[in-house]
Each structure stands twice: as C-alpha cells, then as structure tokens.
C-alpha cells in the first residue's frame, strides 16, 4: 500500500503532504527534509527510485526475506516536473513502475483541472489538490487510475477555481516528458 504522498518544490517547500498513517507533525517535516535532501542531489539521468531515507531505513533491514511482502515501507518513488517533486512512499505490494504512472496520472489530472497547471495553481488551490489525490488514493489504496474518472470525480464536487486573476498567467510548455512516450503505459 501507499504510505505517503508528498509534493514539494525545488527548494523543499511542501505543497502537499498526505500521510496515510498518523505521524507527528515534526516527524513529518523531518521526513520531508530527508527525502528532499536525497532527491535534490540526484542527477538528471538517475532513476526515479530513492534509497530509503534514514528515518525509514533504520528498521527496514530487520525484515525477513522469507515472506514476499510486509508492512514496512520499502520503496520511495519520485518524479520531477518543472518546479515540483512528486513523491510516493509505498510498501513492496506496489509496483515501482506502476507508481510512476500513477504520479503521471495525478499530474495529468491536475493539468486537466487547471488547464496548464503550474505550481502557483497548487499553492492557491491546495484543497483541490487534496481532492484530486482523494479521488485516486483512499487510505493508501489506489481507487482510480483512469484520468477521465479522476477529473470527473473532482469536477462533480464543484467548480475548480483558477488561480486569482491578478496573478500572471502560465508560461508556454513543451509537451510531456517521457511520460507520453508510451513506455509507461501502465494504466
């Protein structure tokens, strides 16, 4: 299952924190900063899987390899879009490559809802951000992976506010990265 979904920007400022287990606020912040340190140092060509941050790594080694799965979070997957990092922490029951697709769907859904989404949209509409996530993941279990249904689910709850008018509009964009290339067609 998925243990946490995090979004933060290139400077480590959180934009979305969702922990599917109850965790002290201060511990949450430590975890975020640990993961940020890990992710910020990675080169462009590196893969999208992180080694476990120190907070999570301490007890994971004790797990026995005899059982195929267990409850300990063992996988930290991330994707980087422009100014934002999207992070998913999960156990071994999730597929690493499929999680990458899931993040892609999440971002695409946000893009559909905000029309050319950017970090500012997410800052000013963080309720919508949470609502979108809630359409996809409930209690750490994925409930929807189809883009249209996610967008439809959020829209059914009311109109999605655009960012305030006096903020500048979004900038031009140059299509998706490798996400559209069909390599990750895991949905």
């Amino acid at each position: 299952m998925i243990n946490a979904v995090l979004v933060f920007n290139n400077a480590g400022q959180p934009r979305l924190t969702k922990f599917y287990t109850q965790l002290e606020t201060s511990v949450q912040q430590r975890l975020i900063s640990e993961i940020f340190t890990l992710v910020a140092n990675r080169p462009n060509s590196a893969c999208n899987f992180l080694p476990l941050p120190p907070l999570l790594a301490s007890s994971s080694k004790s797990s026995t390899p005899s059982t195929p799965h267990n409850d300990t979070p063992s996988l930290v997957t991330y994707r980087h879009y422009a100014t934002l990092y999207f992070i998913v922490i999960s156990t071994s029951t999730e597929s690493p490559l499929a999680l990458l697709d899931l993040i892609q769907v999440f971002v695409q859904a946000l893009d559909g809802l905000f029309e050319n989404v950017c970090e500012l949209d997410l800052i000013f509409n963080f309720e919508t951000l949470h609502a979108t996530l809630a359409e996809m993941i409930v209690g750490g279990v994925v409930v929807e992976t189809q883009l249209e249904k996610v967008v439809e689910g959020v829209r059914s709850q009311g109109t999605v506010a655009k960012r305030p008018v006096n903020e500048k509009g979004g900038m031009g964009f140059a299509g998706f990265g490798r996400g559209d290339g069909g390599v990750w067609a895991g949905r």
């Binding site: 990675r42 971002v107 950017c118 209690g139 189809q146 990265g177």
Partner: protein
Amino acid sequence: MFEKSLYDLIRGLRNHKGTEKEYIDESIKECRKEIRSTDMDLKSTALMKITYLEMFGHDMSWASFNVLEVMSSPKWRHKRTGYLAAVQSYRRDTDVLLLAENQLKKDISSPTPAVISLPLVAIPHVINPSMASSVLSDLLPRLTHSHAAIRKKTVVTLYRLALVYPETLRPAWPKIKERLQDDREDPSVTAAIVNVVCELGWRRPQDFLPLAPRLFDLLVEGGNNWMAIKLIKLFATLTPLEPRLIKKLLPPLTKIIRETSAMSLLYECINGIIQGGILEAVEGTTEGEEVARLCVGKLRGMMVIEGDANLKYVALLAFDKIVRSHPYLVSQQQDVILECIDDPDISIRMRALDLVVGMVNSGNLTAIVGRLMRQLRHAPIANSANNPANDRARATAVTPYAESDDSDAEESLRPHEQRSDQPPPLPEDYRINVIRRILEMCSHDTYSNITDFEWYIDVLVQLVRVSPSTKATAAEGGDSDQSDDVGCSIGRELQNVAIRVKSVRPEAVDAAQSLLFVDLRDQMFPSSGNGGQGVLEYAGWVVGEFASYLTKPEPVLSSLLHPTSLQLPSKTLTVYLQAFPKVFASLASDEQISWTPERKTLMSLLMARIIHFLEPLSTHPNIEVQERAVEYLELMRLASEAASGTDTGTEHGEFTDPPLLLTQAIPALFVGAELNPVAPGAQRKVPIPDDLDLDTPINPNLQYLLSQAELEGFEPDEDDVYAAYTEPPASFNEPQPPTAISASERLDAPHKEPVSYQNATEDEYLDPDIIARRKAERRERYKDDPFYIDPEGDRGSGAATPLGRIVRENNTELDIDSIPIMHLELEKRGPSPGGEEIARQRSPRRAPRRVEIMGDETLGPDEPPSHSSREDLVSPRFAPGQARGKKNLLQVDSSGLGTLSLDDDDSSGRKLTRFELEQKEQEDAEMKRALAEVERLRLEMQRASERLEVKHETLVKKKKKKKVRRAEVEAAPVPEPVAEGEAVPVKKKKKKVKLEGEDAAGEDGQAEGAVKKKKKKRRVVSMDEGAPVQEE
C-alpha cells in the same frame, strides 16, 4: 477588523520576504481569534489557513475542536474544509475523536454522494478500534450505493477498518466478494477490490484461493494494466499454495510478456513468475527453459536496449530475486550487471552491489573488488560536518519563505525533468556498505574465493585509506560501539588472515606494522576525520602476537609507545598494552647477543621508555587499561632493575650472559601454544569431565574468608594461590594440527591467475605506493624467470624489448630485421598469433600457489553452517538499540489480519480463532491503552515545553494565552460558547498585565507548570472514563 482569506495569507507570505516567521505568528494569532467566531464562513476560512500552515510544520492540534465544528456545518464547502483539516491534523491522541464519531456516522448516511465521500476518505486517517465497530454498520450499506465512486471508496475504507478491527471482515467480506464476482460491476470498483484483495492476499493467501477462477478471468480479459499488475502480484502469493495454478497461469503470462508494450506490466509479469516460484516449478521441462530464457532475455533487454535508468533499476531488483534460485542464469548476464556497479546513480549502484555479492566466485572476485575499490578511491570522502543532509535533517519545521521570483512557480509542470547534472558525492553509508560488501565477498566461505592473499592484504590496507570517518560519539564511547566501525571490520580481516593463512603471515604482519607507524599515519589513513582508526586495535594485536615476523621491531615499539597513543580509545589502548611487552620480549630475548654495554644501554633505554609510557596509564579511567598498565609497569620495573644489576662484559669478544629475566622469564609469558581459529560452536562440544563437580564449594569456608578479608583488608600473600594462577595448568590441551584443506578441495580450486594481473587495473584502485611495492615484489619474484618480460626493465637493453611494442611502433611496415631476437623457446610453445597479445600471453603464468587456509578448529562433527559460518564475524553488528525490531515510522500494521480466517466453511477453526481473537483484542486494547497513555504524557510534556518556548516571546501574549488555555482545558468537552464566555474577562485583564510588566515573568513559568499538571490529570481521567463520555 480585517480578515484575511487563504489567498491573502499566501500573498502576504510571499510579500514578507525575510520576516515570514513574524508574519506567520501574527497570522496564527489572528486565526485563533477568527476560529472562535460564530460566523461559519470566517471560522472555516481560519481553519483553512491553519491547515495550510500545518503543511509547514505549524502545530494545529489546539484547533481540533474547531475542526469538528466546521465538519458539522451543513454547508458542503465548510464540511470539505473541516474534513481536510481533520485528515491532516487528527492524531491517535486527539480527544475530540470520540465526538467526531457521530458526525462521521451522520455524513456516511447522507443522501448526497459528495458528502458521503468526505467521511469515506477521512475514516482511514482517524480510525481506532472502538470507532470502527460503531462506524461499520453505517459503512456496509454503502457497498451497494448507486454511485460507483462511493462503492469503490467504501471497499477501501472497509479494508482500513479491518486493519484496526479485523472483525470488520466477517460481515464485510461476503459483500465485497459479491461485488467482485459481479460481471456487471463498474470496472473501477472491480479494480479497487482487486487492490484491496492484493493487500489482504499476502497475509492470508489461503483464504483467497476460491477466488482464483474469477481473478484469472479478470487477468485474461485484460484492459486495465494497473489491475493486471495487482492480479499478478496476488497470484504470485497464491501459486505456492496451489501448484495447479502454475500451469494455468503460464500461457497468459508468457503471452503478456511477449505482447505488452507497457513496461510496468511486462516487469511485473516477470517478477510474478519469479516470486510465485513458477520458474522453479517448470524447471527441467522445455517449456520451463523457454520461460526462463524469455524472462532473462527481457530483463537483459531492459538493462541494455532501453538505456533507461528506471528499467535498469527494476531489472536489477528482479535479477536479485532470480539469483537465489537460478544463479547460473544471472551469471550469464554478468557483463551488464557489472556495468551497473559503476553507474552514476547511487540507487542503481546499491542494487547492483546487493546482486554482485551473490554472483561472486574466485574467477571474478578480483575484477569486482577492483571496480568497487576504484569507486572508493576516486570519490572524495564526504565531510560529515558540511554535509547538507545532516543540517537539514535537524530542522524540524520548514518555514515557508517568499520566493524572490514568481515566474518560477508559474512554470508549467508539463515539461519534465529539470535537474542538475552533477554527479552525486558518495554518501557515507554507501561507502561503508561497499567496504562491508568487499569484506563479505572476500571472506565468504573461509576465503574460498581468494587465490592471492597478498592481493587481499593490499586491498585491506587500501580500504583503510578510504574508510569514512566514524561518528565522534562512537569513537569516544569506546567500548560497545566500536565493533560497528568499518575500521574494526577491516582489522578483524587482517587479524584473521594473519592467523589462518600462515604462508602470508609475514605480509600480514608487514601490513599491520606499516599501519601502526606513527610517521606513516598521514599516508596510511584518510587525510581527514578519524576514518579507519578501528583497524589499529587489530594491527596492534597482530604485531604483538607475531612479533617474531616483524622486520622493524624497534620502530614498531616506538610507534606503540608514541605519546599520541595515549589518546587512543581505551579498547585499542588495552590491545597496545598487551602488544608492546610482546614486541619488547622478542627484542630482548635473544640469548646469542652478548650483554655488552651497548646492549645494556639499549635495553635500559627501551625499558625506561616503556615505563615512562605506562606511568600515566596506571591512573587511566578505564579499569582494563589501568589494570594492564599497572601489571606491566611492575614487570618492567623489575626487568629494569635486573638489567641494571647485571654486569656487562668488560672486554670485547667475551660473551656475557644477558639477565635471565629478559631472555627467559618475560618471553615465557607470551610463547606457548600457537593460537588457532576456533569454531564458534566448539566450546559447547568440549565434553564435561565425569569427575567435574561444580556443585560442591571449593572452599566451604568461603563466607568466613570473605568476611575476614573485609575486616582485615587486602593482604597479598604469596602462597600457593599465587602459584595456582601463574603457573600453566599441567593438563594443557595440545593444539590440534591446523585443519588443512583437503586434496580434493585443492583440485577444485581454480588454477587461475587473478584477472587483475592481466588487465592491470590495479593502478586504478590501489595507491601508487602499494603498486610500486607490488611491482618490486613481482620483479624480484621473476628475476630469474626467462619468460617474464619486465615492463620497465627494457630501458637500455634491447634484448628485452617486447615484441608487441615494436609491432605498435611500426604499425604499417614491419621491419623484421629490427626485431631483436629473444630467446623464446618457440618450438616448445608453438607459434603465437602475434600482435599486441603476445607480450601478455608470453608472460608466464605463475604456478598457482596452494594457499593453506586454516579452518576453524572444532570437536566432533561439523555444526550446521548457520552457526559456524564466519560471515557473522564480518557482517555489521548492530548496536543493541538498533537490533530491537522497532516499528517503522510509516508502517501500517496489518498483522491483526493474520489471525482472522475468511473461510466460512471451517466452523471449528473459526470459533477458535474468534476466541483467540477476542483474547488478543483485549490484550491489544490494554497494550494500546497503556502505550497511548505513555505517548500522551510524552506529547503533553513536549507540547508544554513548546508552549513554554513560545511564551518567552512576549509577556502580554503569554499571560493571555495561558488564561485562555486554562479556560479551554476546563471546558474541553463542553461546546465552544462556554469557553468564549470565559475568554471574555481575559481580554479585560490584558491591560492590567501590560502594566505589571516583567514582574509576571517569574510567575508565569510556575503557572504554566501548574496548568500543565492540571491538564495532564484531566486527560488521564477522561481516558479512564472513555466509555461514559462516549455515551453522553
């Protein structure tokens, strides 16, 4: 008063660059006021703002009751805000959870789908067992709601309910199963159920076997790749229970592997085949061969063809699983896997490292270790002090700051990947990991993979130079933490080789000796930090124990006695204390040297230095160091007296006997039976002698003697007790001859030159001085060998010019005449293919030395390998704190599910489990209560201390806050208006407080303490009476 919207708050934050903290404090203060308002809009906005700030680490637990208020608003917009705040801020110890329960129940039963979704999403975050049983009855009907969106969320919510309250599944599972079996069910709902079943499946696979046909149909139908992945994962846990499934699964899985374009699905298929044991099951058949080849081929493709780091990573993950059952399949892919060891990406390197340890054999060991060593040597040692990781981790809260340029944040998220291209520095834990892996690979199975121990000793010495510095605390702690240090692990290896491999003992002692030299320290150890210092302890032991092998005993002794040695950790110092008498003994014991005045002066000087070194140590705080220091101090004083008392020979050429104490007595302390490695289990096998009586006290008057000793004080008496301890026991066990490796094993050992000799890659991972030494040794070794072409010896003498170089120089026209004639016995060796290879091929293969490795000594038959394996000596030993299996931070414990059977037919078993379950639940509940109590108290104290910190900022705020909080505490379960009422007079007091000024400061702390205590008491009470409150 001016009220800010969330938008204003964020704008404001962005405009207060540099003063964000003040701005946030101010805003939270405003929110505290606004949230008390009766205007629901205002209240809801304030809540939204503090929820936003909570994201940055600003505690909002104080608003838990207000969250509930907003949740219960009839307006959907408010409700949404309230529920979001609840999800983000409610913790296990939030006391309004009891009150929230009714609200949740009410909203689940709402007619509006949008409203139902809110509690469905929130419940997984706030659920506890007592709540679960009460909410369950409201949730169940939602499984048949007309909206698919509600149904799928309900399924997942029920799963989370089951995690804390396993009984949930009894009524819920039949209904969920019904949904799953329904062909006309919405695909989204089916997918959600499959997700849940997959999560439940690995805990109790046997319960889900009856579903296999339906799940199989879903897999074959295809369509949703996400669901297919989950189904495959589920089947991988089912196949071990039902082997017949394998035959059925194989065709669709191979079909997917061949046809799918989705890499994630392809990978999971392969993974499923591996994990489900399908590869093993079909092994030997042609079909199995084909599947195995297909999987490995595809995995190789993922690593090579795609050139995609992610695919490489997951392929390594899969190989890691295959290598356990099919090592030969993986070793075929050795080339691509070894490439990954040097991948710029740390994540991939770590995976490859794990994998490589399982693949290593005597043929590739040197090559693999060489690659790893090269990495260690070329990456700079990260300085832990200015490592940003350490600084950031300490920060508890991130303060939102105003971005200087808004355009950044407006950048569209669509463009992908914008990262720096700098290679990451090697993190320290990776470094440590690599060193440990090298040691693990080399020492595997009592060094069965090593053919050249001199090489191994060089590797060990090089490893010391690249070891990362240990944490300061571990070095100072000295005792238990030390064994964790990589330096110690390297040292243990050096010690082991010195003991076990007699043929390289001189080299091992040489290495230990060079490690000890104080003047070489800069060269032998990392230039910064205290990395590798742990090795000193073992090097000290080696030079002491094998002092006779030392080439430079005197410098070693002066290094041991160097003033800097006094600063070493006490553990190392104890070993040093034992080592230098041994070295001294080997220096002094020669009877053949006449006791000349020079000899006498030298000995006296040495002893004087030893005594000088020991004197300060006799008051060392560590008791072990102190004891040994005092013992040897006395011995040395005695020896020194004896030396000065023995007259020297007056004339040259006349032999005078040196003092016996130096030549006989002191050496006799240290020589005797040779030390041999003993198997860990051997001690247990020593038979207990029949006449051994452990029950009768040796001296029946012990009590009396003790009491007498106490009265009289300690009196050293030199009677037979002394002798009993000093004289060696008569029945000393003769050491067994070292267990040599059997002849057959020797035959099996590959007679092969280590790869690195040919490839000459050593230059890349060994430091120049070590290489120079190796070269010199090699030259020495082969100087009489006509076949050896010295790479450097050709200068000047044309006869030794290698053929290859001439070929290279005159590439186009080969002038045969200019080739100097070498006396190669061509008729014996036959014609060579020529070209560059010649030089290498001609170089004679060194006859593989048969290295004798001492095995562990033991008695009787061998222990099972798990006990006697040497790996546990090398593998990291965790500090006691770490070893305890502590629960992971983010872990959601699903172990409760393991005891619940979903099988309805087996009624007897079910009854039993139900009984057990109840019992377990009771225990769990008690345990939880106790834990919650402890945790709550801890939190209380933590919060109180946080509050105290806040209080120091302004007096006025402090005073006011405290009063309000007291009001809150007293009115905790009572609705808001009361608190409001009490808060009013506080405002009046405000002015007064201002006048009082600083006088109030002292009181304040005390008052706070009182409030804290009071609050604590109150909480405890409310928890004990949890049930009655709930009924209210």
